[in-house]
């Protein structure tokens, strides 16, 4: 049984997992849907009440029925590198590939339906609250008056994108940023705006969950850091990530979150305050983990490889149809 990895060629984080799978002798087929059609080919037939499908890439041929797991890591858009790309061809190639794969009995990390839902930051906040994870007071609004009132209640605020994405035309980065108390909120009317009470953090926490395993790392806040630079992704810091124990209450909340979100993998970001409370910020369903492993030595890639290599099992799904089974 083969592990299928959907990702780009330059994804060296995926390489870290492939190395472990190779060492354990588990067959792997790695491909980028961007190369379908072209370097990647597929065929599937629905005849006499049965389905038979195959994928091929770089000289490897795998039966869709012979997949044990599918890791959706960092795939390109289907047909993005086709000889004559188009939105239509992307949709055709995407539906053919993911439609066939949805019919396989393989386990997913993560299933596309669960992944799509899990990307919604407002839904993440809702689910975190439901799972008893502490969530900083948050407002998402297009009402300037609501923003002003929220700023009066919580004078120390940050703003960040609702979607977690960054504009591409032109390319801009929108880091989590502090909002001054006397800010003019009139531009809130021009787009949904996410305002959140700033957590006076003493450390950032990245908790990587792989199946039932949790590997948490802590990066202490630099005492000399610019107080305006609060986004750990953009603030330069010499402090390394260090392994940290997961508090029992957080572990229970994360387990509930993963179960309800139907995720096999999640990279959780928390801010640790002066009392030691871990405040939930977000859960990235395909978050990077290589940077944590190279600092901490935590065996995250091995954990991913072991999950992918494990025998399949059915699990109930509520993604689209409560009570149905997603495999």
């Amino acid at each position: 049984m083969t592990v299928l990895i959907l990702t780009s060629e330059e994804d060296v984080t995926a390489d870290m997992v492939v190395v472990h799978l190779n060492a354990s002798g588990v067959p792997v087929v790695r491909l980028d849907p961007a190369d379908l059609p072209g370097g990647v080919a597929l065929s599937g037939e629905y005849v006499h009440g049965a389905f038979r499908g195959h994928l091929s890439a770089a000289g490897r041929l795998v039966s869709i029925g012979g997949l044990r797991s599918i890791w959706v890591r960092r795939p390109g858009a289907a047909a993005a590198r086709a000889a004559v790309p188009s939105d239509w061809l992307t949709e055709e190639a995407s539906q053919a590939l993911y439609g066939m794969l949805r019919g396989s009995a393989a386990r997913w990390m993560n299933h596309p339906d669960a992944a799509r839902r899990a990307r919604h930051k407002p839904w993440q906040l809702h689910l975190a609250q439901r799972c008893a994870l502490p969530v900083p007071a948050t407002l998402i609004t297009t009402f300037p008056q609501a923003a002003r009132a929220f700023a009066e209640r919580y004078p120390d605020l940050v703003v960040k994108p609702v979607s977690g994405t960054h504009p591409q035309d032109p390319p801009l980065a929108v880091p989590t940023s502090r909002v001054a108390p006397d800010t003019d909120f009139s531009a809130v009317a021009h787009g949904p705006t996410l305002l959140q009470r700033r957590v006076a953090k003493r450390a950032d926490i990245r908790l990587t969950a792989v199946g039932d395993r949790m590997l948490a790392a802590r990066k202490a806040t630099d005492q000399d850091a610019d107080p305006g630079e609060i986004d750990v992704r953009f603030a330069p810091s010499a402090a390394p990530w260090r392994p940290v124990e997961v508090p029992a209450r957080v572990a229970a909340g994360v387990q509930a979150y993963l179960r309800d979100a139907e995720l096999a993998y999640g990279a959780f970001d928390f801010a640790e305050d002066a009392d030691g409370t871990w405040w939930f910020l977000e859960c990235n369903q395909s978050g990077q983990f290589g940077f944590v492993e190279v600092d901490t030595g935590q065996p995250i890639a091995l954990a991913v490889a072991e999950w992918l290599a494990a025998p399949g099992q059915e699990r109930p799904s509520r993604v689209n149809d409560r009570g149905s089974v997603v495999r």
């Binding site: 770089a58 977690g164 960054h166 980065a173 395909s286 990077q288 940077f291």
Partner: protein, 63 residues
């Protein structure tokens, strides 16, 4: 008419630096010029930042 959040935007850093490795489709791994597997060189990966939480932000939601 600029959305509020874009008041805090900054030019995106160019993260597509030239990498000293290339994908080997036979191995299904990125390989350094001397033939070593790039993913086994954690020092190099730390230096290049290709596994960090901003890598790949151009095309993916999840960092």
């Amino acid at each position: 008419m600029q959305p509020f959040a874009l008041n805090y935007a900054r030019p995106a850093a160019e993260l597509e630096a030239t990498t000293p490795y290339a994908y080997d489709s036979g191995l299904q791994l990125n390989v350094l010029r001397d033939g070593r597997i790039a993913a086994r060189d954690h020092g190099l990966m730390r230096e290049l930042g290709t596994t960090t939480s901003t890598a790949g932000s151009k095309t993916h939601f999840d960092d």
